[in-house]
């Protein structure tokens, strides 16, 4: 068993310049994937989180390395924010042996346990009880680790959400359920799919504190998560956070976006983009210049392009790899 050492408290105030950099990394990582996809170089599927970078960075990047995240199909932001190696993520997406999952997982399953990324999931809602289990394990082993479980708004209608919240509550587990309410589950708007105003109200039925926040404001997200982490680490039990945000792109590659208006999307893109909002704040406080931002963006674009170029040279798995990892090695 890996020895876990934990700093007692997470950093409470996030380094906003560092956060901006990570948010741009996430966005450009995904824009690069889109280009690869359009060029026919990327096999499989993917779900972009462009527009949701603040929930990823304000959440996962606040944790200690030894803390865990549990992610979803819309996972790239969470994985990068938790410190998953970006090169390996590209490699996974491009079907290389050097990928996070050696090519076996693809876009929806990126995992990196060494940095506390317990993995992404193709089954909506499956992460809720898994996160409870990881939190139980931390509690039983007395490690003081906490678990941050990401999920979408649509996922809260699965039975697994309700069952996991109840468990987390009765056992007072160190888990934070973080709902990225990007308004839609595929084509279904959340208003049509639930009959309550705030998803965070659902915490009440299970004796869990629920809170709804502006998910595109980095400092609101990081402050809220910070408090929940502190509470969980000190034995205060679970928290349910609902963060309001928006995905700029379609659900996945086949989405014709017939269920929402261009106008709605434009509103969010122009007036409520988490990156633009953070930049505006930093510019106002003279923490960065416009030129500085452009340079940052440019250097990340270059960094991503270089990574992709080098990943393309990596080996693919061979036929023999098909049969590896079906079962774990036996314990001696």
């Amino acid at each position: 068993m890996k020895q876990v050492t934990v700093k007692e408290e997470p950093t409470t105030s996030i380094d906003e310049l560092e956060a901006l950099k990570k948010m741009w990394q996430i966005r450009i990582f995904e824009e690069t994937l889109q280009e690869l996809f359009d060029a026919g170089e990327l096999y499989g599927t993917m779900h972009l989180c462009i527009g949701q970078e603040a929930t990823a960075v304000g959440g996962a990047s606040l944790l200690n390395e030894s803390d865990w995240i549990v992610s979803t199909h819309r996972n790239h932001g969470h994985c990068i924010a938790k410190g998953t190696d970006i090169r390996s993520m590209f490699a996974e997406m491009l079907g290389k042996k050097t990928g996070t999952n050696e090519g076996k997982g693809g876009s929806m399953h990126i995992a990196d346990l060494a940095v506390g990324n317990l993995g992404s999931n193709g089954i909506v809602g499956a992460g809720f009880p898994i996160a409870a289990g990881a939190a139980l394990s931390a509690q039983m082993q007395g490690t003081k680790q906490v678990v941050l479980c990401y999920a979408g708004d649509g996922a809260t209608n699965e039975g697994s959400f309700h069952e996991a919240l109840n468990l987390a509550s009765i056992w007072q587990l160190p888990v934070i359920y973080f709902i990225e309410n990007n308004q839609y589950g595929m084509s279904s708007s959340i208003e049509q799919m639930v009959n309550i105003e705030k998803l965070s109200e659902r915490g009440k039925s299970y004796g869990i504190q629920g809170i709804t926040i502006d998910g595109n404001d980095l400092s609101v997200v990081s402050n809220t998560v910070s408090k929940a982490v502190k509470k969980a680490r000190n034995g205060g039990g679970p928290t349910l956070i609902e963060a309001l945000t928006y995905r700029h792109k379609g659900h996945s590659k086949s989405d014709k976006l017939k269920y929402r208006s261009d106008d709605e999307c434009r509103q969010w893109q122009e007036h409520n983009d988490p990156i633009l909002r953070l930049e505006k704040k930093l510019l106002e406080h003279n923490e960065i210049t416009s030129k500085g931002i452009r340079q940052l963006e440019q250097s990340i674009r270059q960094e991503m392009a270089d990574l992709v170029a080098s990943v393309k040279l990596d080996d693919e798995p061979t036929k023999a790899d098909l049969w590896t990892h079906v079962y774990a090695e036996e314990k001696i």
Partner: protein, 329 residues
């Protein structure tokens, strides 16, 4: 004759059933404006309204359970599970409820529901979106299981499934959606439980399910050059199974290959082997039965690994040639 895609054939059957029978309605995730996970319900909500083409929350257990309840009380629900893998989330309702009720209640209730779903690999969507779990369902008494492989079969069998008074699991293969075939414009049914001889031959019988049918037909063309004549049988419905058609073919050729995309281990292909082995025809076999199926691994995401995980045309060709050789020796 008119040619349409497998996807259109399914869409047409749904459209016609909605028009023909007021009790028929559709429910599932994103089946309205989005048109369903793969487009099978495209345009139907516009035509029949939100009541009869009903978007649901992401709640497979609730979808299946609601279908059971509605079916028991006079409606004929057709539920869509976006990917067949999500059946796991709806399993109690389908296996313990839908499949059992008619029997358990001494025949006093029927559960006429159809569960439509997209199965199979070939899209790089990895282990949780690429499984062929149809043989799970074939293991459950009380359920009927259909796996159509052509647009013609898809339309006719879907009509039959909708008219059937039992819970019917209807497995569509994602890679077949865009395949084309001749399909009558009017509504018709194909009886459930009748296999189809997709190609007539004398030397080897390939019993293939799902996507393996088209691969077997391609392999049959290739070995034809070498003078080998392959018969391809498509059971079309796993439950009830048309044993007679299968056995008649085996009796003619005396050489059998069974090909499924689903993993071989503990699967439906084993059932087919048993049926042959238990019949007297087995005494006349000129060589042991050959089984091709998915490797016993979760489906990998990576493209070439994914292709290695299930039988391809090459492996079918090799199997046929090997089978002929063994007999010659």
């Amino acid at each position: 004759m008119r040619t349409v895609t497998y996807l259109q054939a399914i869409n047409e059957a749904l459209d016609e059933a909605l028009a023909q029978d007021e009790q028929v309605f559709l429910l599932g995730e994103d089946i309205g404006v989005y048109g369903g996970g793969f487009g099978a319900t495209s345009g139907l909500q516009e035509k029949y309204g939100k009541q009869r083409v009903r978007d649901t929350p992401i709640s497979e257990s609730a979808i299946a359970g609601a279908a059971v309840g509605a079916a028991m009380t006079g409606m004929r629900p057709i539920m869509e599970l976006q990917f067949s893998d999500f059946i796991t989330v709806a399993m109690d309702q389908l296996v313990n409820q839908a499949a059992k009720i008619h029997y358990m209640y001494g025949g006093k209730a029927n559960v006429p529901l159809v569960m439509r779903t997209a199965a199979g690999s070939g899209t790089g969507a990895a282990a949780q979106h690429s499984q062929s779990l149809e043989n799970w369902m074939a293991h459950i008494p009380g359920l009927k299981v259909i796996q159509p492989t052509t647009p013609y079969d898809a339309k006719g069998l879907l009509h039959a499934a909708i008219k059937d008074n039992n819970p019917v699991m209807f497995y569509e293969h994602k890679l077949l959606y865009q395949t084309e075939g001749v399909v009558p414009a009017e509504s018709y049914t194909i009886p459930i439980g009748v296999a189809d001889v997709k190609r007539v031959g004398n030397d080897v019988t390939i019993i293939a399910t799902g996507i393996m049918v088209s691969k077997s037909l391609a392999a049959a063309e290739i070995v034809k050059e070498k003078g080998i004549s392959v018969e391809v049988i498509d059971p079309r419905t796993l439950v009830p199974l048309d044993e007679e058609t299968l056995l008649t073919s085996v009796e003619k050729t005396n050489r059998v290959i069974i090909a499924t995309e689903a993993v071989k281990n503990s699967g439906f292909s084993g059932e087919l082997v048993s049926i042959i082995a238990e019949s007297k025809i087995s005494l006349k076999l000129k060589a042991p039965i050959v089984r091709l199926g998915g490797e016993f691994v979760p489906m990998p995401a990576q493209k070439t690994l994914e292709a290695h995980a299930i039988p391809q045309i090459d492996s079918l060709v090799q199997a046929v040639e090997q089978l002929m050789k063994e007999v010659d020796n």
